[in-house]
């Protein structure tokens, strides 16, 4: 009764508004809508324009980039920056390295994180609470504290300056464990119980039954770990030193700092940054809806 009383209250009230008031409020409503759209349009422009100008400048010559930085249409379209990037620098190597590391880390993370999440959510084993506390504690340690120590440990173990050193430390992500654990806790146990009764082992149950059900959460993990490892910088700084293992982030950062006589070279730098953004952007546009809705899960969970 209480829920429905509000409805009848509003309609007669609206209907009983004097005519001029309704007109005024509707005019105000229109004005409000217009302001809203204008505001949104301006903000959207502020957010989109930098990327447009980035792509436009990468196709300009250096002189034009310095002389006319704001225009979105180059007067003379030139691919000199891209040519220099792909043919005369190590950019393809950087891209390959980033791709290798990202793929390995994403696959690894998906596997390990879902294993751990399932164990923490479903399996009863001694010390479960301790492990969970460990994971939570890890989330609290800020990354900056780990910069120097990670270098020390990588050096001690002997995987410094190798692909192993780049990939292994990134294989674990506390937030991912959280997400999977929350997800697994939200699905009913009936199917698993059924499978167990039918005699399936724990891993079997996990692999063949629970994991396929976890597709939405897995997609989230894939997106997050792809983004995270593609965009990672500080870990690669401390984990590698040879030029052959440079990733995109480290390489583009070195382009940005430049050297003594390399001047400003904006088209080149912006081209590099643009290409670097493409894979994550593609992933983003494909999985837009899911990414936008992940936060709901995060808030509720």
């Amino acid at each position: 009764m209480t829920a429905t009383t509000s409805a009848p209250v509003t309609t007669p009230a609206a209907a009983s508004l004097p005519r001029s008031r309704a007109q005024r409020s509707s005019r105000r409503g229109v004005a409000g809508q217009v302001t809203l759209y204008v505001l949104l349009a301006v903000l959207a422009l502020v957010y989109i324009y930098p990327f447009l100008v980035q792509v436009a400048t990468s196709f300009k010559s250096e002189q034009e980039a310095a002389a006319d930085p704001i225009s979105l249409i180059p007067q003379t379209l030139t691919v000199a920056a891209y040519e220099r990037l792909f043919l005369h620098s190590d950019f393809p190597l950087w891209f390959a390295n980033s791709a290798i590391v990202t793929v390995c880390v994403t696959l690894g993370r998906v596997f390990f994180v879902s294993l751990a999440g399932y164990a923490l959510a479903r399996l009863r084993f001694r010390g479960r609470a301790v492990v969970f506390a460990l994971v939570v504690a890890v989330m609290a340690v800020p990354a900056v504290v780990l910069l120097i120590p990670k270098f020390l440990v990588l050096k001690q173990i002997g995987i410094y300056d190798s692909y192993a050193g780049m990939i292994l430390p990134l294989l674990v992500d506390a937030a991912g464990v959280f997400i999977m654990k929350n997800f697994f806790e939200s699905i009913p146990t009936s199917v698993e119980e059924q499978a167990r009764i039918d005699g399936a082992g724990t891993f079997r149950v996990f692999w063949s039954i629970v994991l396929p059900m976890a597709r939405p959460a897995l997609v989230t993990i894939v997106i997050l770990s792809f983004q995270g490892s593609w965009n990672e910088l500080s870990h690669f700084i401390v984990a590698t030193q040879s030029p052959g293992l440079t990733t995109l982030t480290k390489g583009v950062a070195s382009l940005a700092t430049g050297q003594l006589s390399q001047g400003t070279q904006y088209p080149l730098k912006l081209a590099a940054a643009a290409i670097m953004t493409i894979p994550v952007a593609v992933l983003f546009f494909i999985f837009q809806k899911r990414i936008m809705n992940t936060s709901e899960g995060a808030v509720k969970g």
């Binding site: 001694r126 010390g127 301790v130 270098f151 050096k155 173990i157 050297q259 003594l260």
Partner: protein
């Protein structure tokens, strides 16, 4: 459940402890690593020798330099049979430090005077100076720069001084001739004023001690005494020099390269944002990017205490951890021969560090003779341990010189220097 948690916690601690001990075991393996080939910081022990390829890391001033070094190393590699590769560092100091700390540094690398003390004192370097065949051919002041704790560590690879470089085109456009080349501070200010028009400033240079130091030298001041035992940053001469620069920055005739939108003085000069600049030999290599600019190198004007300029030099540092030091020494010998140094000079500018090449160089580069003349009265930069950090702090304060107080800046530099000279 409680008991189980306690047991598991204990188990976790035990696991951690066991791993730490295991890591210590791994770690001690590295201890042996840093004992070979060093013999501590003093006497040069026997050099290591193996078949490993050599890595040479350089802090390049541009494509010209990188290519020149790569060609030279490739030529040596072919004739000696040892593979060698050249890496141009983006941040030489950081990459060297990381390499040393990781135990895998490059075999040979550019080492500047202000970094020598730091790396030598913690055993990262292999001293090989006394084993050089052309040891006596190097300029004595350069050898002194690379001697730490009585040991001559590394072979100077070249050296440069700073002089005044003027844009001939803009010079003539302003109605100036050769007789107007400034020889005093006042004349420099006058000429700079005449050359300042529109977007171009009269004198543009990088805003750091490595450039402003010339004015300090011309006023008779230095950062540390010649023997490196006393800090002299807050002398009146230095204050006078900085005030002179500040005055003309305020009236718009002098400017920092960053103020006009360039990365360094050479870029500002090349883009004609500055009609004059204070740069060293390496400018010739960089000016290849700006072929339209005709320029001329002249001696810097004399200040209240006479002529003065700064001298910069790097040496070929050799890592103590290098597995093939014998080959590295061989490469250094090759790279420091008179002919090779002259070839480098032609490619990117700096002057050979061997005295036997001086006359040939003067003949080959008549336009750059002022740089060599500068060597007669040039000051070196402080080489004390920790000086690099003090200078970088000095540089960061110099960025606000226009609105700052020279006395205060120099007082803080003095304080920092006093902490490291004792």
């Amino acid at each position: 459940m409680r008991r189980h948690t306690a047991v598991t916690a204990l188990g976790a601690v035990g696991l951690v402890g066991a791993t730490v001990i295991a890591l210590t075991g791994c770690g001690s393996g590295f201890d042996e690593g840093d004992n070979t080939g060093t013999g501590g910081t003093g006497s040069p022990a026997a050099l290591t020798s193996s078949d490993d390829a050599l890595t040479v890391m350089i802090g390049s001033s541009g494509d010209a330099e990188t290519k020149a070094v790569q060609d030279a190393v490739a030529a040596w590699s072919k004739s000696s049979g040892t593979k060698a590769s050249v890496v141009a560092a983006t941040d030489l100091n950081q990459q060297l430090s990381q390499g040393f700390a990781a135990g895998s540094p490059p075999d040979l690398f550019y080492l500047s005077t202000d970094q020598l003390a730091g790396y030598a004192s913690n055993g990262s370097l292999q001293a090989y100076g006394d084993q050089l065949k052309n040891k006596d051919d190097f300029y004595p002041s350069l050898v002194k720069n690379f001697t730490y704790d009585g040991t001559f560590y590394c072979a100077p690879k070249d050296f440069s001084t700073l002089q005044l470089v003027i844009n001939e085109g803009l010079w003539q456009k302003a109605g100036l001739s050769d007789s107007d080349i400034p020889t005093t501070w006042d004349q420099l200010a006058e000429v700079a004023k005449k050359l300042t028009s529109g977007k171009t400033k009269g004198l543009v240079f990088s805003g750091e001690y490595a450039r402003l130091g010339v004015f300090m030298a011309q006023a008779g001041g230095r950062l540390v005494s010649e023997d490196g035992t006393k800090a002299e940053a807050d002398s009146d001469a230095n204050v006078q020099a900085l005030s002179y620069v500040q005055q003309h920055m305020k009236d718009g005739t002098f400017a920092y390269a960053s103020d006009v939108g360039a990365g360094w003085g050479g870029e500002a000069f090349g883009k004609q944002l500055g009609a004059m600049t204070i740069e060293g030999n390496w400018l010739t290599g960089a000016m290849g990017d700006y072929p339209d600019v005709k320029y001329k190198v002249v001696e810097l004007p004399a200040g209240p205490a006479g002529k003065g300029t700064l001298q910069f030099t790097n040496c070929w540092g050799m890592a103590a951890d290098s597995p093939n030091q014998q080959a590295a020494l061989d490469l250094v010998q090759y790279l420091t021969t008179s002919d090779q140094q002259l070839a480098f000079s032609k490619a990117f500018g700096p002057m050979p560090s061997v005295q036997s090449a001086a006359d040939t160089w003067k003949n080959d580069n008549p336009d750059l003779v002022p740089f060599l003349t500068g060597a007669d009265y040039a000051q070196g930069v402080p080489t004390n341990k920790g000086a690099a950090d003090v200078i970088s702090d000095f540089n960061s304060q110099l960025e606000s010189l226009k609105t700052g107080d020279p006395k205060k800046i120099l007082a803080s530099v003095q304080q920092n220097l006093e902490a490291i000279v004792k």
